[in-house]
């Protein structure tokens, strides 16, 4: 009975196995990126970028249908264009970077939806906005796994400068020129993972599998390495539970995954060891030293 509910779907159906593999790949790469986004106070930047890649992906869709290569390339170009444009506007005018990002991503979202609607149907639009992890073919799965592998390799290369730049940017500037390239590489990884999550969760929810696990991890550890591990596990667990939920009920897969992550997040906020609500309300008697 329990076996049928929890493991059965994956032994029985290939599309469920593919979806599970995809969600694990997404978790392995996306969750560490999410932890750095959170620690660098860029969570909303990630969200904005997720919208920004839509028109590029939509142009890719317009040219070659639901082809992940074309949509990935388009998304990457659009993501970088918006990131750079927002930076330029912020730097050359008085406008703060978050305000100009907000403008650009709203514009991108509108443009993207328009482009998809011109050629596609409402089904296509839903697919682009919310993804469909159950419709993964082998080729798409390979692209997702490839992107995840590249992400982990690049993250390993830029890990040290990225950490030091997050803690003490001025120090890194005085000892090394790696800070700028590391930051750019990190932004590239954000875009790659957003595009990666695109197929599974859609443009609106792709950032969810990055940010929510990071938020969860923050409530359980004060150590960076532990945070990254917890975030990956939380993301993979949400993915698995979301798939099961989606299989057993009629909830679409993308929202199901994010809803499960949200439940874990709420539990963490309440009962987390580090700064959880219950801990703060009932901290126990103060220590001697």
């Amino acid at each position: 009975m329990l076996y049928d509910a929890l493991i059965g779907p994956f032994t029985e159906f290939e599309f469920m196995r593919r979806a599970l593999a995809a969600v694990i790949a997404l978790s392995l790469a996306g969750a560490p990126i999410g932890v750095f986004l959170m620690l660098r106070r860029m969570s909303l930047v990630g969200d904005a970028m997720a919208h920004a890649i839509l028109p590029g992906a939509a142009v890719g869709f317009l040219l070659s249908g639901l082809n992940l290569f074309a949509m990935t390339a388009g998304g990457l170009i659009a993501g970088f264009a918006v990131a750079i444009l927002a930076g330029v506007v912020a730097r050359s005018t008085g406008l703060k970077e978050d305000a100009s990002l907000a403008t650009f991503y709203l514009a991108s979202l509108a443009l993207g939806v328009t482009i998809v609607s011109i050629k596609g149907t409402n089904i296509d639009l839903l697919h682009v906005l919310f993804g469909n992890i159950l419709a993964m073919d082998d080729q798409t799965l390979l692209v997702v796994a490839f992107n995840a592998t590249v992400t982990l390799l690049v993250l390993a290369v830029i890990y040290r400068p990225l950490v030091i730049e997050s803690v003490d940017p001025l120090f890194l500037r005085t000892v090394s020129r790696a800070g700028g390239p590391a930051h750019l590489a990190f932004l590239a990884l954000v875009v790659i993972n957003l595009v990666n999550g695109f197929q599974a969760l859609g443009t609106l929810l792709a950032v969810g599998l990055m940010i929510l696990p990071a938020g969860i991890a923050r409530f359980w550890s004060r150590d960076l390495t532990a945070m990254i591990c917890i975030a990956v596990v939380a993301a993979a667990a949400s993915g698995y539970a979301g798939l099961v939920l989606s299989f057993q009920t009629r909830v679409p897969s993308g929202p199901a995954i994010i809803l499960v992550a949200t439940v874990i997040y709420i539990v963490s906020v309440l009962f987390g060891r580090v700064g959880g609500v219950v801990r703060q309300l009932f901290p126990g008697r103060h220590l001697e030293a």
Binding site: I158, F171, S176
Partner: protein
């Protein structure tokens, strides 16, 4: 042998000079205090020396030193204290010159990090997150990182601000130890008593140099008064500086 050459250096922001026409040189191994009122350009000068700020005019030469041979302790470090990193790891970043992106932190390096932490009196704090430290303890951590950087030119921007006397004494001893090891040390300071007692050379700065030389000769009430008066605000409608009357001298 000079560790630092200033050639008619002007440093500033948006074309407004904060350090105006400074020339001179700092001998290798010198222990120099930079004093002056708030807004005199002390921090700006130090930022220029470590290369964060490009001169508007003139040039600064590091006497053949690579920028990695310079350790810089800024006045208000932009450190994100909430970032989850331990004292050990944070101090360990001082080894960047040797390890770079991938260099391993072996047993010898670990020993070095522990010794640096011990040298600032923070034994037992290795695994504490930096967010849990007091202001004085954080300053000790920053000094420990400077120790690990093993730099031949050390630049300290008001390192004893808001630090109690015990910590100040400990850290000052470290500065004198660096001096004893032949390193060049520049420090922006406000405590005249400390400058008089511990620093052999002094530069009195007030946008332009007021006086520069042995502390006993330079640190006079007249010079300090002049420095006080010379600090005026930015003039938004100031004309481009044409004056080449370089009012400065070598130390």
């Amino acid at each position: 042998m000079a560790a630092l050459h200033f050639h008619n250096v002007t440093l500033g922001y948006d074309r407004h000079p904060a350090v105006h026409h400074l020339s001179g040189e700092v001998a290798r191994g010198a222990l120099v205090a930079v004093i002056g009122p708030n807004g005199a350009g002390k921090s700006t000068l130090l930022r220029g020396i470590v290369g964060i700020l490009k001169p508007l005019d003139g040039s600064i030469h590091l006497g053949g030193l690579d920028s990695r041979d310079v350790a810089y302790l800024p006045q208000s470090a932009e450190i994100d204290r909430s970032f989850p990193i331990s004292v050990f790891d944070f101090v360990g970043t001082g080894l960047w010159r040797g390890t770079g992106l991938f260099g391993g932190i072996g047993k010898a390096a670990r020993e070095k990090i522990l010794r640096a932490i011990a040298s600032v009196g923070l034994n037992g704090f290795e695994n504490r997150p930096i967010g849990t430290l007091s202001g004085g303890q954080m300053q000790r951590v920053l000094f420990a990182r400077v120790v690990l950087q093993d730099a031949s030119l050390i630049v300290l921007d008001e390192p004893f601000n808001a630090i109690d006397s015990k910590t100040t004494a400990d850290l000052l001893a470290l500065v004198k130890q660096w001096h004893g090891e032949g390193r060049t040390v520049l420090a922006a300071l406000h405590d005249m008593e400390m400058v008089r007692n511990h620093f052999s050379q002094t530069l009195v700065l007030a946008r332009g140099p007021v006086a520069w030389g042995p502390t006993a000769e330079v640190l006079t009430p007249e010079n300090l008064l002049v420095a006080m008066r010379m600090c005026e605000a930015f003039d938004d409608s100031a004309a481009a500086c044409a004056a080449d009357d370089v009012s400065s001298r070598a130390a």
